[in-house]
């Protein structure tokens, strides 16, 4: 059987996680290519609707990268992100999705190696979980 290659949507904040991803690139650190990254100004601007929309459209996992607590460029956006993600993780199992399919990580602009590491870890975890079960339901044809 072919190896399952997860599709992962990543929302990365402009000031920390995205800059961290940039640093990983500049430093030529290798990590698997399963992450499709979307740059946002702040992880706090990622609405739960965006995450649900990603799952609806067949993403196997959603990664959100923000600044470490206390480092948010907009003072407190990342604290709101934390609350959103925790609430969403409580909702997802009721809809039959594993909460592990959403991962929130704090990555600073200086942590290129850490960025590559957490993304690689997440991809491995999604590989273990298997494809997004939503893709197999009739509801998806709506």
């Amino acid at each position: 059987m072919e190896r399952f290659e997860p599709k992962i949507i990543g929302f990365c904040c402009n000031w920390c996680a995205y800059a961290g991803a940039d640093l990983a690139g500049i430093s030529r650190i290798q990590y698997p290519p399963n992450l499709r990254m979307i740059r946002v100004m702040c992880s706090g601007s990622v609405d739960p609707e965006h995450i649900l929309e990603a799952f609806r459209n067949g993403a196997d996992g959603v990664f959100i990268g923000g600044c470490h607590p206390g480092d948010c460029h907009y003072m407190s956006g990342n604290y709101k992100t934390l609350r959103k993600v925790k609430l969403l993780k409580k909702l997802l199992p009721q809809l039959g999705l594993e909460p592990e399919r959403v991962r929130l990580e704090w990555v600073s602009a200086a942590e290129g190696a850490r960025f590559a590491q957490v993304v690689a870890d997440f991809i491995e975890e999604i590989r273990r979980l298997g494809p997004n079960p939503w893709k197999r339901t009739k509801g998806a044809e709506r």
């Binding site: 609806r56 999705l97 298997g130 079960p133």
Partner: protein, 327 residues
Amino acid sequence: MKLKLAIGLGSTCSGCDIAILDLAERILELVDLADIVFWPTAMDFKLEDLSKFGEGEIDISIYHGTVRTSEQEHIAHLLREKSKAVMAFGSCACFGGIPGLCNLTNREEIFRTVYKETPSTVNPDFITPQTRVKVGDFELTLPELYDDGKSLKQVVDVDYYLPGCPPVVELIEKLIPILRSAQNGELPPKGTVIASDKTLCDECPLRRENKIIDHITRVHEIIPDPERCLLEQGILCMGPATRGGCGARCISALMPCRGCMGPPPGVKDQGARMISAIASILAVDEEQELPEEEVERLIEGIKDPAGTFYRFTLPEALLNRKVGERK
């Protein structure tokens, strides 16, 4: 010229019918403007009465209830075919409503619970409703129960929406001038929602002080301050993620909004919007110091997120059903 009005129903508690009757004496204005040609709850109509109409012969059809069986789907298609305009009436037709919570389970599980597992059930052969059964020389039929509950617009093209569980009389009364202008061939633009275009918070009579929740509580656990925002007092009120227009009648009785008016304009997913709203006010006064575990503990206060945030809108949510167990 007198209009023709039909009122059809799906999976409904018929509270919507009662709400129409709540027009009281104004219902006479309604019947002055329109002949009611189909309304099985109120009068003796049969489905074949509806079938006899020609295409587009009925001026306005109102449909209330979730679409959950083959028969209800048939009625919805029939009304669409026979009518110039179709209105989804009440939260079930507009968004799927309470019966739409059936999307958290499926027919097989429901049958197993109802016809097998409940303690008062004795059914050793596990006999469940069938769509066809032969009894002697006769074949009996039942409509098929679907796995999914659907809103009306997931089944047919819908022109107008009148949300609410049930819709308040103040909104139903707005049908009368609409019918009056329909007599002159003037109808509101397609997609019109007969309600407010703002959130419920906009018309809420209670006072907001700091927009912070420091704990989450349930409605029976405290006696709320009757002047102050219920959300600020820790009671989950769907106001920030719900369309206004209902006159905040639940809140006036100090019951939190349950979201029956559906999401406000521009919002796809009411539950996601509510999560976003809570996230921006939950223990944000001490957010710098508060450890993650404490945030998790606060969130534990929400016992049933799907049932609370999608009580009336699950079939219209982005993820609109529970997906199956992995086999």
